[in-house]
Subunit: 209 residues, 2 copies
Amino acid sequence: MKNNVIITIGREFGSGGKAIGKIVSEKLGIDFYDKEIISLAAKDSGMAPEVIENNDEKPMSSFFFSLALDARNTIGRIDSPISQQAFLAQFNVIKKIAAEGKSCVFVGRCADYALASFENVVSVFINADMEDKIALVSELRSLTKDKAIDLINKTNKTRANYYNYYSSKKWGAASSYDLCINSSRTGYEGAAELIIRLAEIKQRILDEK
Amino acid sequence: MKNNVIITIGREFGSGGKAIGKIVSEKLGIDFYDKEIISLAAKDSGMAPEVIENNDEKPMSSFFFSLALDARNTIGRIDSPISQQAFLAQFNVIKKIAAEGKSCVFVGRCADYALASFENVVSVFINADMEDKIALVSELRSLTKDKAIDLINKTNKTRANYYNYYSSKKWGAASSYDLCINSSRTGYEGAAELIIRLAEIKQRILDEK
């Protein structure tokens, strides 16, 4: 196959999207970028890693976010400078890595939107049944069921706001991605298999061009 | 493999969902049900096929639908008897066929909802880019671009209303299905491959139980 394929994975918190992306990158022997984007974006932009981390996948503070939403309705788009700089630093690093031309996996951070002009990208979204998200998050963070539900809902709301705000698409809508998978129904290995098959289909389509 | 798998396909009008379902059924050598459900439901319920066809995947007339939505908000769920009978006749036939225990493909008609209690079901949703939906619908129905756009939007709105009204889920949301595929990115053959792989994963999961 002469074409490399870049795989972007959007995911609900607690859906196993990161673990699934890791399995895909290991099976294909390609690079994997999740939190790694933060230090790369810091190095590249000169911003402090903590500043990027604090604004990572958050549109801006919810107070400023609602102010900005109001403002957008009346006077157009307004961004809090630092959160926007953090977004742009990550956005630029994602494009820079993709331009190197190697196959790789990006998790989160609107990578599908950053790479919208790249032909060799497949975009995936991973969701899961609520009970599985609760089980994963309670274990990972040692939380009670109620606290886990609260964290899942808050984190996913923030991710949705970030994605909807910066991209022109809707987080978690089938129409925003090439492929959406419920990991509760496929297991992590099954989800990885489907993503790898999607990458193979994309390579075939590019080969045939 | 000792388990049969039933595949339900929800789809945007113009996405090629029916053609993809047909490819899947031919490759797997299993039965295919789309419009076939109408005559089977008629035979089974004693209703006239035309009555079921007229109410096929339509919640009720849009006038009555908005009335009913208003009514639901204030006094609870109200259904137009005939459209509900047509829904139930199809709902029952889908469950009856599934209970026969053979692998098969169902297209549309809330089959995923009808079969929610069946363990051996995988649910798929097919969407496509607007330009591809327009190309398909203009050709199939010999329509101008504008008329095709109009028909696509109206049909998909009706399908969404039907699905959202009868099921407890949201049409076209990733969280409502096991797998969502954009057929513009995979082609019909690619979408069929992914669905077949999903069915194999389901069979493996059932085998391991």
